[in-house]
Symmetry: C2
Subunit: 232 residues, 2 copies
């Protein structure tokens, strides 16, 4: 039996966590209180445990910071350039997570010196984390146009105007109210809860929830959530 070469590569996990505050997409980042790069802004991350699958590691790290499980997570990619971490050769698997910003755990956030930062105002991050964030934003823009992932950033009950503001934030462009509404309703993914948005000073918008069954069944088929003009 051939023995494998000795390994001196460290395997890390970094998490991109997006939320939506009603106006813009926010990124959850931490201020490092450990070396290297203590005091600088960084993505939340950690090393992979010896007896842990990759997805489990991501789940652990996400739970550690947000107190949430069962959130939307997917692999974004791997960053492994030889000089990306000055301390040791470290390959990092990047995960992409979407959460309802209202659900996070304040206590855990304080513990990690974490903050929600609007994408436009985000500071420079350590190592190659800036690149990771740029890739994640592109991925969000790409995927949200074709698959129903926007809902992951909203509360269980939401209005169509809320959803529209979310998409306008993602693509940084105005969207026609009327067409957006009909397009979303025609997907059949929305269920009218019969309730109305209480926090409105004018006409109260209808509260919808996701049709979970249809959502899961058709997640991988193609939708078209954005005007065609955006797609080219």
């Amino acid at each position: 039996m051939t023995s494998y070469p000795v390994s001196d590569i460290h395997l890390a996990i970094d998490c991109i966590i997006f939320g939506f505050d009603g106006k813009e997409i926010n990124l959850l980042i931490i201020k490092r209180n450990f070396e290297p790069e203590r005091g600088k802004w960084s993505l939340m991350g950690g090393f992979l445990d010896a007896a842990e699958n990759l997805e489990d590691g991501a789940t652990r790290i996400l739970y550690d910071l947000t107190g949430l499980k069962n959130i939307y997570v997917e692999q974004l990619g791997v960053y492994g350039n030889i000089d990306r971490d000055p301390v040791a050769r470290t390959v990092s698997v990047v995960f992409f997570a979407l959460i309802n910003i209202a659900d996070h755990d304040e206590e855990a956030m304080r513990l990690h010196h974490a903050s929600w930062i609007g994408l436009d105002k985000r500071p420079s991050l350590i190592f190659d984390h800036n690149q990771m964030v740029i890739q994640a934003i592109e991925h969000l823009r790409y995927k949200a146009a074709l698959h129903p992932i926007g809902f992951e950033l909203l509360p269980e009950r939401f209005t169509i105007p809320q959803l529209q503001k979310l998409y306008e934030a993602i693509y940084n462009m105005p969207i026609d109210r009327r067409n957006f509404s009909r397009k979303l309703l025609s997907t059949g993914l929305l269920i009218d809860t019969g309730l109305k948005d209480a926090y409105s000073t004018t006409r109260k918008a209808t509260l919808y929830k996701l049709d979970i069954r249809k959502y899961k069944e058709n997640f991988h088929s193609f939708w078209n959530f954005m005007p065609d003009s955006m797609m080219n």
Copy 2:
């Protein structure tokens, strides 16, 4: 300065290599002549060198087997379940490559006991390589519908009927000749070389080549290479 934990994780690279023989999509696999799993079918792979970036590792391994550089490669994902490799904890970064099947190096192929196998006839592979291939096929189906990657599987000069056979092979469905032709021409990606396919016994089809400039400029915008009926 905090020191990183000792690492005993091995980092490997595996490559999914697709080609098109004019009739069906083929996968390039090797018969292992080393342990573990000697004699079984496997994806081409290897360990990441200590002083090598991930993409460089993939390029090296692809060159080693095909003799080709500058081929289409992208990261597909990472497989890292704790029990995926019985010898040691090994995390594998999977790369997705498309090549013109006619260009491969016969000598290197023999050296690695490599074979092109039609997707439907492929044998079971070692470890979790079967899952990787399934993910790669899905990725090919997904991406080829929206982005012009089909060309990577064809020679520099190709005919529209050739291209159609390629898409029919990818999606395993018949496509209307006339509509496909007009759809492709309307992209503006094809340049008429003025030449005709010499190897035809009936009317000779026009040979086109890619408009490289338009291809690169618009690669990331959305196309629609498949009938809408396929998209749902």
